[in-house]
């Protein structure tokens, strides 16, 4: 695991290599002429051959705009580079014509994007999409092109390349699609590869494979890599040098070791400190014997896909899931996408109906209640969703959103609105936010509003379904603190669904690890995450990026085990 950390190229060697990308004092402004606000304000960056430079920063820091400027892909009617230069192997791409830019793309510089699910054209075979690059930029014949593509697909370690060549994107997994993107980007051996959050949408185990792949290909081809990410763990695993960005400016740059061990700027220090540790927090003492508020008993959910002919296909999204949650405690369900963790959460809240098994909420079996008889029990369990940008109705004021639940349950409007104000203060927002609309708040604030809305019904159980996954680390840390604080004050029980083991380690008392719809390991977080018994749990922990680093304390984790401090 520490080979990734140690594999950084020797610095003196790198410094003599030819410069591939030189961004000098780049300024990008809003508007057609770039006369508006400066999104990028004087960024300078260099990437040499065979070197990986990571650009890190939170959302809005301008890291993606920097990469799109380099590719000449800024949206023409809203952003424009108005100053500085971007030299690609000595040629200023800001001065290049559209035609020249098209020639440079794929041949000298190539880019892979965050969302492999949407980055490929859904109606064209993936082989043909790679072929387009060769047809556009080379004069190779059809059979030579095909041979080259199949070879490249093997290099990115795709299985059964002939079949995949003739497949549509929707037939492939996220990891496979990202491999196709990488094959497409590297098929002409460009000098520069820009990777814009290429693994953010992938599961940790897939992420690890893709990062290794990029590093291996880079070694073979000597590609310069500009890697955009928000994830310090990924930075620790792959960067030679790091550039930290904030609000369109460069905060600091340096070698990986310098940045992680001795950051000079406060912002970098805060950013690193906000990264949750993989080492589970010390177990909390259980005050007395708390009553059980939520129990799932051999819960199962089967999706049946009917087909016109033949027998229906069955998918077991959840099987034999048994969970217990006590008052005032936090139970985490962790797992990769498709593991069934969200299915379980939704069954428990009865947003979907379980196929088998039981759910006891505050001592009452609710799995077999009809929609109507469930009504009085719904208020006891409330959910906070992942995406704060889409989970609040944009046309309804914050106050109405929060008060709607209590009003539905018979509260007087004036009482409910007064309560909404109190709740907003509880989640550290001003009480006068009640009359404002969701778009006037940032992502972190919206998630606080979503929490306030969930709390308005005074539930006994709060389900947080990836509730902090869409947030920047510093905001994430604040929201996690808030949840912790609310739990201490109200004694609420939290069911916390997450794919992020770092987050789970910092907030959960107990953890259930799910894979393929089943719970594979369950127990106190301090035990499961520090001393996993199951191979799958170990595999997940191994794949967690940056596990060799203790970011908050600016040091590498000693030894190979992560023993809890307690």
């Amino acid at each position: 695991m520490s080979d990734a950390v140690n594999s950084n190229i020797n610095r003196t060697d790198v410094n003599t290599r030819p410069m591939v990308l030189e961004i000098d004092n780049l300024v990008v402004g809003v508007g057609k002429t770039g006369a508006g606000k400066k999104i990028i304000d004087g960024i300078s960056l260099q990437v040499r051959q065979g070197e990986t430079v990571c650009v890190v920063g939170e959302s809005g820091s301008g890291k993606s705009v920097t990469s799109l400027s380099t590719m000449g892909l800024l949206p023409k009617d809203s952003l424009k580079a108005i100053g500085g230069s971007i030299k690609l192997v000595g040629e200023d791409v800001l001065k290049a014509s559209d035609r020249r830019l098209r020639q440079l793309r794929a041949t000298t510089m190539a880019m892979i994007f965050q969302e492999p699910m949407t980055a490929l054209n859904p109606v064209v075979h993936v082989g043909k999409q790679i072929d387009e690059v060769l047809r556009t930029h080379t004069s190779l014949g059809a059979s030579a092109r095909r041979a080259r593509i199949l070879e490249m697909m093997e290099q990115v370690r795709l299985p059964d390349v002939k079949r995949i060549f003739a497949s549509y994107p929707h037939r492939l997994s996220g990891g496979q699609r990202q491999r196709i993107m990488i094959a497409m980007a590297l098929v002409l051996e460009p000098k520069l590869l820009i990777a814009d959050e290429p693994t953010t949408a992938l599961d940790v185990t897939t992420q690890k494979q893709i990062l290794t792949l990029i590093r291996d290909l880079q070694k073979d081809h000597g590609t310069a890599v500009l890697f955009i990410t928000h994830d310090m763990g990924v930075v620790a695993d792959i960067a030679d040098r790091v550039a930290v960005m904030r609000q369109g400016r460069l905060v600091e740059t340096g070698t990986l070791q310098n940045i992680l061990r001795a950051p000079t700027m406060d912002y970098t220090r805060n950013l690193l400190s906000a990264v949750p540790s993989l080492v589970p927090r010390p177990p909390r003492v259980e005050a007395g014997f708390n009553p059980v508020v939520l129990e799932a008993n051999e819960l199962g959910k089967v999706y049946r896909e009917r087909s016109f002919f033949g027998k229906p296909r069955e998918v077991h999204a959840a099987q034999d899931v048994t969970l217990t949650l006590r008052k005032g405690r936090t139970l985490g369900i962790v797992g990769e996408s498709g593991s069934g963790k969200s299915t379980v959460a939704r069954c428990i809240v009865r947003l979907i109906d379980p196929t088998s098994g039981g759910i006891r909420l505050a001592g009452r079996e609710i799995s077999d209640l009809s929609r109507h008889t469930l009504q009085p029990h719904r208020k006891k369990i409330q959910i906070v969703f992942q995406d704060p940008y889409r989970s609040l109705n944009p046309r309804i004021t914050i106050g109405e959103s929060i008060a709607e639940g209590p009003i539905n349950y018979g509260a007087k409007r004036s009482v409910a609105m007064a309560r909404a104000r109190e709740l907003l203060e509880l989640v550290d927002l001003p009480a006068d936010a009640v009359s404002r609309y969701p778009h006037q708040f940032s992502g972190g604030q919206r998630q606080r509003i979503a929490i306030a809305r969930a709390l308005a019904l005074e539930p006994e159980v709060l389900v947080a379904d990836e509730a902090v996954s869409a947030l920047d680390v510093s905001v994430q840390a604040q929201v996690l603190r808030l949840l912790d604080d609310i739990q201490t004050r109200l004694g609420i029980a939290i069911l916390f669904i997450t794919h992020d083991l770092r987050v789970a380690a910092q907030i959960c008392d107990d953890v259930a690890v799910m894979q393929h719809g089943r719970v594979v390991e369950q127990g106190p977080a301090a035990e499961v995450l520090a001393n996993p018994q199951q191979a799958y749990t170990r595999q997940l922990l191994d794949a967690a990026p940056g596990r060799g680093w203790d970011f908050a304390n600016f040091r590498a984790v000693d030894g190979s085990t992560t023993v809890p401090a307690a």
Binding site: M71, R105, A106, A119, L120, N121, P122, V123, V124, E132
Partner: protein
């Protein structure tokens, strides 16, 4: 794919069956004696008798239905109560003008509107985009008869390039057919160009914001490749829907245009039949219209499946 096609055709049969039943009952379940309704108030007993026998009204309802369907399947749609001409003959005479206009309007509209929509989306926010959108508003808001009369005034009366009105079968020479069909085609095309251009633009705008379009640009593909190979096919589904329903509307008759240009099409046939309460003709028109809609929906769904591999069949 073939299985899907067969399944969809099989699924269309019950739909048409229900329509047939409805059409059949339309006459039978109208209060009072169907023969009297058909014959009108001043009918003589002999006329009523004749109608009763002709419609088989003395037999049980289900026997009537099945023998009616049986005759339908053999192309016997009955005889017009007004002109005493077989309905099938009346409709088939009227089908050619309607079909000709529908096809030529759709062809012209697609040829004009799709490129307009693509360019408007590509040049989003520029004067080109605004020009196309303004054109589309005009196309929507000016009634078709106004456009028709203006076209007639200019091209038929002032310039004398084409005849004022009428229809000549294509089987009697392309020239006379073309010069009579061109004005109604242009007049009707306005609204379809407006509709399809707007739809194409909206769909293309959506698609041009997609990640895979950015990927295509990052590959160094030129703009026409990005627009036509990557964007258009993905934008096609909503556009095809509009084209399909537009076509169905055209075939089932455009009364105003037919009247302005004195075209003997199915639209006017329908209106005349309704006004004269010529039930056999009305029945035939309802069946024809539903048949057209069912067929076109089938074609649209097949086009979806061909265009987008994610749609399962």
């Amino acid at each position: 794919m073939l299985g899907y096609l067969i399944r969809r055709i099989l699924a269309a049969i019950p739909v048409m069956g229900v329509v047939a039943l409805f059409v059949f009952l339309l006459l039978r379940l109208t209060p009072g004696d169907p023969a009297a309704i058909i014959a009108g108030d001043s009918a003589t007993p002999e006329q009523l008798d004749r109608i009763r026998t002709q419609l088989g009204l003395n037999e049980p309802l289900y026997t009537q239905f099945f023998s009616w369907v049986w005759r339908l399947l053999h192309g016997d749609l009955g005889t017009s109560l007004i002109s005493n001409v077989p309905v099938l003959q009346m409709v088939s005479q009227r089908i050619e003008p309607s079909l000709s206009v529908a096809l030529s309007v759709m062809l012209l509209s697609i040829l004009v509107a799709v490129p307009l929509g693509i360019i408007a989306a590509w040049k989003h926010g520029t004067w080109i985009d605004r020009f196309v959108m303004a054109l589309s508003v005009i196309g929507f808001s000016v009634p078709v008869f106004v456009i028709g009369y203006v076209l007639i005034q200019i091209f038929a009366i002032e310039l004398r390039w084409v005849p004022v009105q009428g229809f000549r079968s294509i089987f009697r020479g392309f020239g006379p057919f073309f010069e009579r069909i061109i004005l109604p085609t242009c007049a009707l095309s306005f609204i379809y160009v407006a509709l399809i251009a707007r739809m194409t633009r909206a769909a293309m705008l959506d698609v041009l914001g997609e990640d895979y379009v950015r990927t295509a640009r990052a590959k160094g593909i030129n703009e026409s490749g990005v627009l036509l190979r990557h964007a258009l096919r993905n934008a096609a589904v909503p556009v095809i829907t509009v084209i399909g329903t537009g076509f169905a509307l055209l075939i089932s008759g455009v009364v105003v245009t037919e009247s302005v240009f004195n075209l003997p099409g199915v639209g006017r046939l329908t209106v005349d039949a309704v006004l004269a309460r010529d039930f056999p003709v009305i029945q035939a028109m309802i069946l024809l219209t539903s048949g057209v809609y069912v067929t076109i929906n089938l074609v649209i769904d097949l086009a979806y499946a061909l265009l987008d591999p994610r749609i399962r069949y």
